[in-house]
Amino acid sequence: MARRHHALTPRPRVGRSLALLGLAAGPLLVLGVFFLLPVSGMLGLGLWPDGSFDASGALAVLHHERTLRVLWFTVWSAAAGTALTLLLGLPAAYVAYRLRFPGRRLLRLVLVLPFVLPTVVVGLTFDNLLADGGVLGGLGLHDSPLAIIAALVFFNLAVVVRTVGPAWESLDPRPAEAAAALGAGPLRVLRDVTFPALRGSVVSAASVVFLFCATAFGLVLVLGGLRYATVETEIYLLTTELFDLRGAAALSLLQLLVVVVLLALAHRARAHAGPVDRRPVTPRRPRPADVPAFALVGAAVALIVVPLAALVAGALRSDGHWSLANVRALRTVGDGQIAVTTALRNSVLTALDATWLAVGLGLAIALLVTRRSHGPVERRMRAVLDGLFMLPLGVSAVTLGFGFLVTLDEPPLDLRTSPLLVPIAQALVALPLVVRTLVPVLAGIDDRQRQAAASLGAGPLRVLATIDVAVVWKPLLAAAGFAFAVSLGEFGATSFLVREDAPTLPVLIYRLLSHPGAHHYGIALAASLVLAGLTALVLLLVERLRVPGVGGF
């Protein structure tokens, strides 16, 4: 009660804002040193080439015909990828979360699996499928933009299913039933009743998918050849191959701008989702009217299973017949490369460090963002913080990776050889995912529970332990699992920072691909299989953790 009284007077409100900033200092410091500093260092090299500001050099890149092609390709491939992902993902969310049938759990697992697969593996999988002599080699899609878009859809289906599914699961069915009873057809019900209630989560999912599509790196690098590039891979090529740092900086800034706009849109979509009547709904049995939805789900499952099956087949064949030669080769050291098993060990150890970093930071941020705001200033501060920590989602991993190399190379911050460098970068990549998992859960806690506990004499820590922790520990574990899986597969930033003598598995797979030969390709496939298996296992554990009632992602 005393607290409420204080909140009404202006001075403590300033005090609260300061306290908020104080709490935010830790995460902000990490973000500042390991994100803002490297990124601005890289932009600085491009915009202040000789110590003085010169934007004209940077803008010159926009005059190249190729840059315009790349921008156009980025936009249209991301738009097409998003549209197709929604087309397949929305029915999948409906079927997996709204209907009851045997194999439902398996379906959810299959739909989510691609998201944690390393992008290099996804690229390799589709390359293997569509190459001359591959299972679908006859389609002539190798080196075509369609291959890239198919892989983007494969990768992003999970985002739609994860985001829209839980919202749909708890949607009150009665308004739709009432509309149907009043004579509305199924499509009309979908358009006028169901969709408006889900709009927030759909827009949020679509914007995140668009973001992932438009900033795809590993996938496009493997599948795009020299011709097809997104802004992200173009930044990489401009930097590593042309040394056009000004052009790279211009594109990075452009990308950053678009990402901020998209994140703001996604934020608005979440904030304006509005109160929807949520209640536990028992899933029902499928009806004949669900056939179209099942057909689209079938297409989605085929899109996921066929490439994976081809991956398994490719890994278990060598010299034209079935054999375990590729699997056995995982333990040998060949051709100046380290053994796959050693790289796997590097990956797991790195991902463990990245996981605790991401979870620790993510929890701190989620707590900060979801505490009840006293006054508009504080609310705005929390919103800005929320958005700030989402930025790593859309900033070029390449800019970040090179930024680390050029800014964190002087004492006291010479971290280029530190074993924590890669985990930190991976943690930044996984961080938005952790925050997005935890924020809805923490936001869902009725603040009156905390107030009640406090008025009963519990100190702030006790309140945290009995109210927040009790609700959040399972989502926290789930977030940890996700962060672990994402770190295992992280490729973009890792490929710049990893010590050459201790590559992680995705980096090693990319290296094996860069030194072609039937033997290497087979080992790369087998290594991908191991990595996919491991991430699937982690995901299975995460799925097991989900109990009804704990919010979705």
Partner: protein, 367 residues
């Protein structure tokens, strides 16, 4: 009840797993803090500190045998560490010039050397050159006495003779021939932006066609040339006589490549380099500016022109040694025919226009 028990076991398993993850994670940071231990203290001048580490920065195709590298360590008492940069060695060196990735760079070639020198990547040092090596120094103003030539070869179009015989087609002879309709869809080549081999081939076409080179490349692309990222993608991936699954019988590779496609039954090579399409490539080594261990670095550069390394180059790096009198593998004497005349370019002009030319090349070839 059993169901509940199972669920509890599962959750507690998960808790345990995650807890152990967190704990082992904590320990990792401390455990691996300094895996290499000591030994990188810098020595300003004079002899290298015994036992100190010298780091060699090189490209992804570096493959000198372990015995040779071990010999360096036993001869000098220094520790040798090899850092391979998979993509864009010249640009990575330029990006990190203030705090370099190592002490010596090896593998920057004549197509990129002037660029790196202009960027201030290298320090003043040149090894005492063995006989014959001075022919491979950078020409003219580009030579700053900072780079030591180590190996060389010529970038040439290669053809799979077996394929041409089977299909009763005459192999091409010149660069212009490559755009003829009868050679449609059968050429693979590494791109000029991702591959030093590809950059040299671009320079060859610039020497041949002058200002008309973009037009030539348009015709090459229109004739179905497959431009890959790296040399190995083209040679081992696409070339019919390369890795085994390729479908294209013409490829941009080296004058030494035919020595690796000798048919055991006939003793003849099944491929040939077109000697009218060649341009010379020279790979250099140099001490990096701001190196931690400059004294050790100088020893390493000296070692790279020593007879042991020079003799090991053909079989491991597929390049000719710069030192005359170095014994060559038997197959090389018979099958690696060197061109009598090659295309040339001005290294200084290249350094100045590199970015602009590559940007234009990308515009043309990815249209």
């Amino acid at each position: 009840m059993p169901r509940l028990a199972r669920r509890l076991t599962l959750s507690s398993c998960a808790v345990l797993t995650v807890t152990s993850l967190v704990l082992s994670g904590c320990s990792l940071a401390g455990k691996e803090k300094n895996p290499q231990g000591t030994g990188t203290e810098s020595v300003p001048t004079g002899a290298p500190t015994p036992g100190s580490t010298v780091t060699l920065v090189t490209h992804g195709d570096f493959a000198l045998p372990d015995e040779v590298l071990a010999k360096f360590e036993s001869d000098t008492g220094l520790k040798l560490k090899v850092r391979k940069v998979e993509d864009g060695l010249p640009t990575q060196l330029a990006l990190t010039k203030d705090h370099p990735l190592g002490d010596v760079a090896y593998g920057v070639d004549n197509g990129s050397a002037a660029f790196d020198l202009q960027q201030g990547v290298f320090a003043d040092y040149q090894a005492e050159l063995p006989d014959g090596a001075s022919a491979y120094l950078l020409k003219g103003a580009a030579d700053k006495k900072m780079l030591t030539p180590i190996d060389h070869g010529a970038v040439c179009v290669n053809v799979d003779l077996t394929w041409f015989q089977q299909h009763k087609v005459e192999p091409p002879e010149t660069l212009e021939d490559l755009t003829l309709p009868k050679y449609k869809d059968i050429l693979a080549l590494p791109g000029a932006t991702g591959s030093t081999t590809g950059l040299l081939f671009l320079l060859a076409t610039m020497d041949q066609f002058g200002d008309k080179w973009p037009d030539y490349w348009s015709r090459l692309v229109a004739n179905g040339a497959d431009i890959t990222k790296e040399w190995s993608d083209a040679y081992e991936g696409d070339f019919t006589a390369g890795g085994g699954s390729g479908k294209r019988p013409m490829v941009v590779s080296y004058d030494t490549s035919p020595a690796f496609t000798v048919d055991k039954a006939t003793g003849e090579s099944t491929t040939a380099a077109l000697l009218d399409t060649c341009i010379q490539q020279v790979e250099y080594a140099g001490v990096l500016a701001n190196a931690d261990n400059p004294a050790g670095a100088r020893e390493l550069v000296d070692f790279l022109v020593s007879p042991e390394v020079q003799a090991a180059l053909p079989d491991s790096m597929y390049m000719f040694p710069v030192a005359t009198g170095t014994p060559l593998p038997d197959a090389w004497a018979r099958h690696a025919h060197q061109p009598s005349r090659v295309y040339t370019f001005d290294a200084d002009e290249l350094a100045e226009h590199r970015q602009e030319w590559l940007a234009e090349w990308r515009d043309v070839t990815t249209r």
